[in-house]
């Protein structure tokens, strides 16, 4: 699975996710990636989110939108909302994966509860991109 979240010069946010799914999957199984609210979500006021990992858990948690609603209705900062989703809700369900998220101020969060996540980020107040794989 691959994904991206972005904040542009007009203050707009967007999210996109794409995947080949699971190896040897049957019965036309569909994961969280294409489900708006589970694997992909964006709202200019609160943030943009793209998830990766065991899709069934992200579907049950409606994960991407849960981060947004914790911000909108719970008044949470992005960091706390994304940490809660991954290290509390996903952990408790026994799921594994991660997410990338960005808020209207350009704050970026990339938490995961798996051994590693391929990830990168870049902002206009940084010289070089951050590129990482392992915990």
């Amino acid at each position: 699975t691959v994904g991206a979240v972005a904040l542009d010069g007009n203050g707009h946010l967007a999210a996109a996710t794409s995947t080949g799914g699971m190896v040897n999957k049957k019965y036309n199984r569909i994961g969280d990636t294409p489900l708006i609210g589970a694997g992909t979500y964006a709202d200019n006021r609160w943030g943009a989110v793209s998830t990766t990992g065991h899709g069934e858990y992200f579907m049950r948690l409606v994960a991407a939108y849960s981060v947004i609603s914790m911000r909108e209705f719970g008044g949470m900062e992005l960091t706390r909302a994304t940490q809660l989703l991954i290290h509390h809700k996903l952990d408790k369900l026994g799921g594994q994966g991660g997410l990338i998220a960005i808020d209207p101020s350009g704050r970026i969060c990339m938490p995961f509860n798996a051994p590693g996540m391929f990830r990168a980020s870049m902002r206009n107040d940084a010289q070089e991109p951050l590129i990482a794989m392992f915990d």
């Binding site: 794409s18 200019n44 960005i102 798996a114």
Partner: protein, 177 residues
Amino acid sequence: MSQPIAIAIHGGAGNIRMDKMPADKQQSYQKGLENAIKVSYDRLAGNGSAMDAVETAVTRMEDYPLFNAGRGSVVDHRGKIEMEAAIMDGANLEAGAAVGLERTRNPVALARAIRHHSQHIMLNGEGAENFAREHSIPQEDEQYFITDHRYDQWVQLDEQGAVSLDHNAPQGGEEIG
């Protein structure tokens, strides 16, 4: 500081361990991430929209054979490819998504075309790819998508009758979700 612009990308999460990933493979993944983040950030810095930037980043990673999306997608039970994608615009909560794709080179491009040119959000399978052809979204033969590595991974799993997140699949110590 002027209006902040920023982008983040992921290439999957899972059983990705430094002690299990050969250095050359680490460099290959690093190269794929670096290419995607730089090209998409340049779009933003060049006054591109957030939608352009996320589509550019995901397209680059779909084209890069190591990531499980587009070319290099994992192989399903039939020995075929079955891809899915979504895109969402935070400015108006508009979205596009496509599932059950077998020939579309860049599923994220189809998701965006669905968002812009259809009255729906999600299209599925043959209908989705008819829509892709009607909107000149490039299609590829099956062999374009299936890499040797993914085929070998599938053969091993199929012998076990197992289904797996690719990061737990055989040879997949460093594989990604």
